[in-house]
């Protein structure tokens, strides 16, 4: 195939998800000519969310219609440094996105801000419990940015996403029944909270009886009709239950495709090129400046696209992969403890508890909305005293029912101990589907010296690049945190009057299992911070080593939090864009001296 050189642009953005779309909107507003390269195809609600054909659980959740297909590229995974990592050949534990809109088209919509203490976790832990409280081998770090600095950008993102929720305080005054542990806000949520489904309703009552502080989970699923500041319109969510894994046929779930791209597509400064796979960022001979990117177009031509500014927004691990294959930043070496690209790889420490209610109570698990539900934060972040407990981190606990459909119910089966098939499976499964409530402890995951990302020595993608290798396992601190918080759920299911409860928790010695879905909340690997020795990016998500490359995504999180990542990713994108617009473009160069 031929090599083609395309006309140089101001900005090239790799990836068409939330991170890329926010950056494209902000930078075109600043007058920049922006090209967005997306490896997957064109996607729209009208085509991919068409009613009723898109309401197909087999295609949506089991044939992964709008998720990444692994045929061309994947990662390899191992639990520890002495193992051989093996390819993640079938989608299971996590489900990355592909195509215009990225995972933002098929996410669920839980839309949270970060707990301020989580931004300064290292400093907070040291000041509260002393330095010796940090276990050996844990790379605990601060983000290098404060909640006060990010607040305007959280607010902006909620308005763009049309987020439904209830505040606790606005400008220091108690205004509603929101999360008492949530940080202060400059404004209300743009939309009131969604209704509670049966399970969430019962959980709210029971959690309060148990002495906890339940609140409506902020959700980027519109509770009413809404027009966002860009003029994009959303309809009210009808709890269709085909949320996680689907393009919302009601235009109610926020997505780049509904909330940002329709406006961008009308802007002459913006061009989107689907079916364009970026192979690497090109650097000049000094290796301190990017000249653009090289990508493969639909026909397999190699295209050289030069640009003044390169934004990597290809999702957490793809961003790290692109940095490694392009030679941006020093690769992390877990043995020497040097280098930064690949360091502090983290995940979400989730486990699910099930409560079986009286058979007269129908829980209608098929009714659901991706982001909605009820949570309590009494055991999240630094909302409780860790001193006597001896672990770092926490979990919100919630009923977040995105809609359980029949195949998922069949595969989930009955209570523990029920066979996986036959008549006993059938009756146990049906009883569970009709009368059970599921709740998650959605915990943080700390970063460790020997949990990291690098390039695999053996397996390659379809383009000849080494696959990214994940070395990951659950560690003692995180297992103990999970078990402690899950233990607290027993009081809730008791107050619910459950006839049976299965407290789902992490077990010591049980390795990370790639075969079961957990979440797609992967983080770290190219983290932000104030020290170039422990972070790949400065506090504006700018590469320390190559200052015209910004890397936007959950890769920037130094460690995991109890919350879903996208609220934080969106706020960081707006924060970074703001500083590019107000400072960088006037005087390109490092925004922080290294």
């Amino acid at each position: 195939m031929a090599t083609i050189t395309r006309r140089s642009v101001d900005v090239v953005i790799v990836g068409g998800g939330w991170a890329g779309s926010i950056m494209a909107k902000e930078l075109t507003e600043a007058g920049q000519r922006v090209v967005m390269l997306e490896r997957g195809g064109e996607r729209s609600t009208a085509a991919d969310g068409a009613y009723p054909g898109s309401l197909d659980e087999l295609e949506g959740n089991y044939r992964f219609k709008i998720f990444q297909k692994l045929q061309k590229t994947t990662v390899t995974i191992r639990n520890n440094i002495s193992q051989t990592a093996l390819p993640y050949r079938q989608l299971a534990a996590f489900l990355p996105g592909e195509g215009v809109g990225g995972a933002g088209l098929h996410w669920s919509g839980v839309h949270l801000r970060i707990a301020p203490d989580d931004l300064t976790l290292r400093s907070t832990v040291i000041s509260k419990y002393g330095k010796s409280f940090i276990p050996e081998g844990m790379n605990l770090q601060d983000y290098g940015v404060t909640y006060a600095e990010l607040e305007p950008f959280f607010d902006k993102a909620e308005k763009v996403f049309g987020t439904s929720g209830e505040a606790y305080t606005v400008n220091g005054k108690v205004v509603g029944n929101g999360n008492v542990f949530a940080p202060d806000r400059s404004d209300h949520f743009p939309l009131p909270p969604l209704k509670d489904v049966t399970g969430a309703h019962l959980f709210r009552k029971a959690a309060a009886e148990a002495g906890y502080h339940p609140y409506a989970i902020p959700a980027a699923n519109a509770s009413r009709q809404y027009t966002n500041p860009y003029g994009a319109q959303m309809g009210p969510c009808n709890f269709c239950g085909y949320c996680s894994g689907y393009a919302c046929y009601m235009y109610s779930k926020a997505s780049p495709n509904v909330n940002i791209l329709p406006v961008l597509r009308r802007n002459k400064l913006f061009e989107i090129r689907p079916n364009s796979t970026v192979l690497h960022v090109t650097l000049d001979s000094t290796k301190t400046r990017a000249t653009g990117v090289t990508y493969l177009d639909e026909k397999g031509n190699e295209v050289i696209q030069s640009a003044e500014l390169v934004i990597l927004a290809a999702f957490q691990f793809n961003n790290v992969h692109l940095m490694l294959v392009s030679g941006i930043g020093k690769p992390y070496d877990p043995v020497a403890g040097t280098g930064v690209v690949g360091r502090n790889f983290v995940y979400q420490n989730i486990s699910t508890t099930t409560a079986w209610l009286d058979p007269s109570v129908w829980t209608s698990q098929f009714i659901g909305t991706g982001g909605g539900g009820v949570a309590f934060d009494d055991f999240n972040s630094e909302n409780f005293d860790h001193g006597p407990l001896g672990f770092i981190g926490g979990s919100p606990v919630w009923v977040n029912q995105a809609g359980v459909k029949a195949i998922a119910a069949a595969k989930a089966g009955g209570p523990p101990g029920t066979p996986r098939w036959g008549s006993a499976w059938k009756s146990g499964m049906i009883d569970t589907y009709k009368h059970a409530v599921r709740m998650d402890a959605h915990g943080s995951n700390m970063a460790y010296r020997d949990v990291f990302l690098d390039l695999d020595p053996t397996w390659k993608d379809a383009f000849g690049r080494p696959l990214l290798r994940m070395t990951f396992d659950w560690k003692d601190n995180d297992i103990r945190m999970n078990r402690y918080v899950v233990g607290k759920i027993a009081a809730v299911t008791k107050a619910m009057g459950a006839r049976q409860t299965h407290l789902g928790m992490k077990e010591f010695g049980q390795p990370f299992d790639t075969r079961f879905y957990q979440t797609t909340h992967l983080g770290g690997g190219a983290v932000m911070g104030s020290d170039p020795a422990t972070s790949a990016l400065n506090r504006y998500l700018q590469c320390w080593d190559v200052s015209n490359v910004f890397v936007i995504g959950s890769n920037a999180f130094p460690q995991g939090t109890g919350y879903n990542p996208t609220g934080m990713v969106a706020a960081l994108a707006y924060w970074s864009a703001h500083h590019i617009r107000t400072t960088y473009l006037k005087n390109p160069g490092p925004l922080v001296p290294a």
Partner: protein, 226 residues
């Protein structure tokens, strides 16, 4: 339950429960008759195996219809012609190295290969253990044999019997509960027994009817309803 909720669906379930007793007595003896559908992928012998296995994975019983009435074998045969069955959703590049189970599937076989090798292996094993075709074994013996595949350590070449069993079970469940557009879940029977409304997908007025049974029957993508 309020009388208004005694819907047609509940009525159907009650009826299904009643017929189940007689059907069960019959099915306990031998594999049920094959459906009229003519398979494209599976050979005659494989097709018989598939019926006899699906029939035990989701038996017809008091809870509702079984895999055969629901058209599960037809569903699986039709799936074999989709990109999924050719391995198009999976990373298939070598080398293929075995490793710990928790790192996931590592064999070079597509779903089509897994069925071909798995059924051949299972039939041979049945001949060896029972001196008979799996499909001609009685229900209790088939159950014991399937449990052996599920939990035992048998290998069909480098394909573990448990891997084959896992695929068969997964696809059987998919066939019983997927939209009937894919060939299974005939008459929306899988949805009726679980109370899943299918493609109804609008619960605006039922979200806060706390604890009550949803009153409407299921609807499929093509508009079939019960």
């Amino acid at each position: 339950m309020p009388p208004s909720l005694l819907s047609r669906r509940n009525l159907l379930q009650t009826l299904a429960g009643a017929t189940a007793l007689t059907a069960c007595a019959r099915l306990a003896e031998a594999a049920p008759p094959e459906s009229a559908y003519r398979p494209v992928f599976f050979t005659t012998d494989e097709w018989r195996f598939l019926h006899a296995a699906c029939d035990r994975l989701i038996p017809h019983d008091a809870s509702g219809p079984g895999a055969i009435e629901l058209g599960v074998p037809e569903f699986i045969d039709r799936q074999m012609e989709t990109p999924y069955a050719y391995g198009a959703l999976w990373y298939m590049q070598g080398p293929h190295v075995t490793g710990p189970a928790n790192l996931g599937y590592q064999l070079p076989y597509t779903p089509r290969d897994i069925y071909r090798r798995g059924i051949a292996g299972a039939r041979a094993l049945a001949l060896q253990m029972h001196n008979a075709e799996f499909a001609s074994l009685d229900a209790a013996t088939r159950d014991a044999f399937l449990t052996e595949l599920e939990t035992g350590t048998h290998q069909f070449g480098d394909l573990p019997a448990s891997t084959f069993f896992g695929h068969l079970l997964g696809n059987t469940q998919e066939g019983a509960f997927a939209d009937p557009i894919h060939g299974g879940n005939k008459g929306l029977g899988g949805w009726a027994m679980t109370g899943f409304p299918g493609a109804r997908a609008d619960f605006m007025d039922w979200v806060d009817q706390y604890g009550r049974e949803y009153p409407l029957g299921s609807v499929s993508i093509s508009g079939e309803t019960i």
